[in-house]
Symmetry: C2
Subunit: 239 residues, 2 copies
């Protein structure tokens, strides 16, 4: 099996897609799902495998259907900034630019659903609710970007880590799965490059939060939020 594993799908994939309720595809009514299905390709990624690279022509848009993806940029001397972590339901491709401004790689075993950009645009021109959904997504992403800029510009290390734990899917009690259980598939170094810190500071800060009883380490890659309110106060700087 080749490393880069993309396949046209069998029929009806979208109807059974576990990520659809969270994704932009939710705005496509069931009756029209076959239109999406006709365009969709499923891509399977091994841990560490690249989905696209900075500078590549941006020929596709993506929906993450399982696993997780990191997007990042590098400075010339190797400093890395992780722009975001993407999980099931997240959409990549709002940027209308011709070339990717970020690289994207799987963190763990991951599947994404891929559409040719031109075909997706054509569908969008026809199904206006899809365009509206995308504009709404763009607004949400912009709001998230602003929160992250506030974090990076003005929050302390402990406030950053607290914010991060609360932003990850799983921290809020609404989602499926045991409430307050946060999965951390990324390394300390990746968290650091996302939060504008070093891996040592991230590690020390998590230790501080554990010692304070705000979180508990459940396993190597899972934390339980023990005091969500206290963590929220910390995250928001309501000292």
């Amino acid at each position: 099996m080749p490393a880069d594993c993309a396949q046209r799908r069998g029929g009806g994939g979208c109807a059974h897609c576990a990520a659809r309720p969270f994704s932009v595809c939710a705005s496509v009514p069931d009756a029209d799902l076959h239109r999406l299905d006709a365009l969709a390709e499923t891509v399977t990624l091994a841990p560490g495998q690249a989905l696209f690279r900075e500078g590549d022509p941006a020929t596709h848009v993506f929906n993450v259907t399982s696993g997780s993806v990191r997007t990042y940029r590098l400075l010339a001397d190797g400093r890395r900034h992780i722009a975001g972590f993407l999980f099931a339901g997240d959409f990549i491709g709002l940027d209308p630019a011709e070339a990717h401004s970020l690289s994207g790689e799987a963190i763990e075993a991951t599947t994404v659903c891929r559409f040719r950009k031109v075909a997706y645009r054509a569908l969008m021109a026809e199904r206006r609710e899809l365009e509206a959904a995308l504009l709404a997504r763009a607004g949400d992403e912009l709001a998230a970007a602003r929160r992250q800029m506030l974090l990076l510009a003005r929050k302390t290390a402990i406030e950053r880590v607290a914010s991060f734990l609360l932003d990850l899917p799983g921290a809020d009690p609404l989602r499926p799965g045991p409430a307050g259980l946060v999965r951390l598939p990324m390394t300390r170094s990746e968290m650091a490059d996302y939060l504008g810190l070093t891996l040592e500071t991230v590690s020390r800060t998590l230790t501080r939060l554990k010692r304070g009883g705000l979180i508990r380490q459940v396993s190597l890659t899972e934390m339980r939020v023990e005091k969500p309110d206290a963590l929220r106060m910390l995250a928001d700087g309501d000292a």
Copy 2:
């Protein structure tokens, strides 16, 4: 004259709008300009005057037509993050949320062009090129937000200030006005809150750039970029 000065416009304002070539309105063909005109209100702001406040219902979208605006958020203990500086041609209102997540204030004497959100949406539904232009804007703004996050997460003070000077309108030789002449209507403290630094560090860093001959102070609020290439290298971390 009341402090909050908004007026329905006389006819034909949009046709003569100096900011139109730079703004989303550029995508509305001349023949349809009367539609915009019918919706537009002009607002005049004194220095420091608020345009909207965090938490206010977001009833309008705006286009800056002259002057400059700062948008910002505060943490509970007073730490401020300036999300952006907006100049002629810039659009506010991509965020589809019902309430403003930022406050916006004039930095200097400023005029903005205001549309009721519901009316603007209605126009958008009709004139699809306006929606497309807005989606493109959203993409651009997202790309800019990512660059700013990289700056905040991983760049040094001098790299941040260099990036800032180059991002301001006027730094690039394409724009009207003398090439390389950058207007800085905002205070050092505002630059600091935008760049994640303190005002002292901004001041010292500007002094360093002056001493290095990369920029020259033309007046209290104007800098001339003397070595744009060297400044660009600094800004991009191509050490």
